[in-house]
Symmetry: C2
Subunit: 237 residues, 2 copies
């Protein structure tokens, strides 16, 4: 089995996997934008792990300065709407969709063509909701096995499982961010709580590369479980 893995004959062999990663940026004007603290590292690690597991991987990446993993096809985007378009063009042709990107929930409603000049008066910005990429993919007539991510600052299990159920996801991987924790967005380490309908697994704190391996193994296990083709079940069972 180790030989098979090394040969690229891994648990996702032949699967077409679409992954989003990184932050998105929403323009306020030509020089300012709304961003978020996602480094993209978790998503790039998942893409690398999926490729090593034998999958054909397309990675739709927001602005982040990370090298493309070997064997992965990369599509660069900036805003949530650009990411939505890039994903929807490809979602019909994939078996597994893993949405690790920290997509901006909101964009600025009107973006001026010129830089907003500074004044000593307050400025009002109106933010309007962006398209929900995860929900759009999970709601497709022939949806791929869809895995979401949730970054929460509080009440992790409650918010994550509610998000999974509301969006009709097959699986959600959640982690705590902010508040000086040494995991999550800017960290090399992370820890995940993974939820699916009727089940849960904790992936304890580890470097993102290792954690991505564990998550990809769990996705392969659950995906095969859903397909009634669980390879790990003893043949005599």
């Amino acid at each position: 089995e180790i030989v098979a893995l090394l040969a690229g004959d891994g648990p996702l062999r032949g699967e077409r996997v679409l992954i989003t990663a990184g932050p998105t940026r929403e323009a306020i004007d030509p020089v300012r934008f709304i961003g978020n603290r996602s480094s993209g590292r978790m998503g790039f690690a998942v893409a690398a792990a999926a490729a090593r597991a034998g999958a054909k991987v397309v990675l739709v990446a927001g602005p982040c300065s990370l090298a493309t993993p070997g064997g992965v096809e990369r599509v660069d985007v900036e805003s949530a709407r650009e990411m939505h378009e890039a994903v929807m063009q490809r979602a019909g042709d994939c078996d597994i969709f893993i949405a690790t990107a920290a997509v901006a929930d909101y964009r600025v409603d009107r973006v001026p063509e010129q830089k907003i000049k500074k004044s000593d008066q307050p400025v009002a910005l109106t933010l309007v909701p962006n398209p929900d990429i995860l929900q759009a993919v999970a709601g497709l007539p022939r949806a791929p096995f869809t895995v979401g991510f949730a970054a929460e600052t509080e009440r992790l299990a409650e918010y994550a499982e509610a998000k999974r159920a509301r969006k009709g996801l097959d699986m959600i991987a959640a982690n705590l961010v902010g508040g000086g924790r040494d995991t999550g967005f800017d960290s090399a380490d992370n820890a995940l709580e993974v939820f699916w309908a009727g089940g849960h697994r904790s992936l304890p704190r580890a470097p993102k590369i290792q954690l991505a391996e564990a998550l990809v193994a769990l996705i392969a296990e659950r995906r095969h479980g859903n397909d009634q083709t669980t390879d790990s079940r003893p043949a005599s069972g």
Copy 2:
């Protein structure tokens, strides 16, 4: 003279130079922020050039993933208010202040402790002005020789010279950004129009490293000119 330059006995020998660089980030909530497209490269190049010119350089840097130039003391900050505090602590003890940072003009007035949950309703953000670091330094009783930067999307000379005069700067270096131009924020090349009271010089498009050398030479020339100690004037003149 070349030997003197190579020995670090350059045109800014003995000068204490304080430089700001990079963007600043203004938190919207624990995961979202307002940023801008400054890469920090121009400021880091100016810091390197000033150190090579013999100056003792302190670089106050917003979030950017660049290596600290050799011989430069670096102070990392995130928000405009943090940069303001770091600069004002040091501005009284410097001879030259070069403000290349793209400091956020505005911050969000109230930042919640928890992540703002997504809804399908618009969100109103109120932005309030940040302290003006450049004006604060230029207005000190014993102000250093103060050099500002201006990134404009239109009417470059007019906006830049107005900013220089309004803030009481000794010099301002301006460049056009946005609109698909291949100079400015995300580019390796740049071009600058430099203005001072009664004078102007164009520094044509060049790699930022070279452009920083030219700017530092011009600052040394103008600073010495103001001090009535122009070394380049022939002794017999």
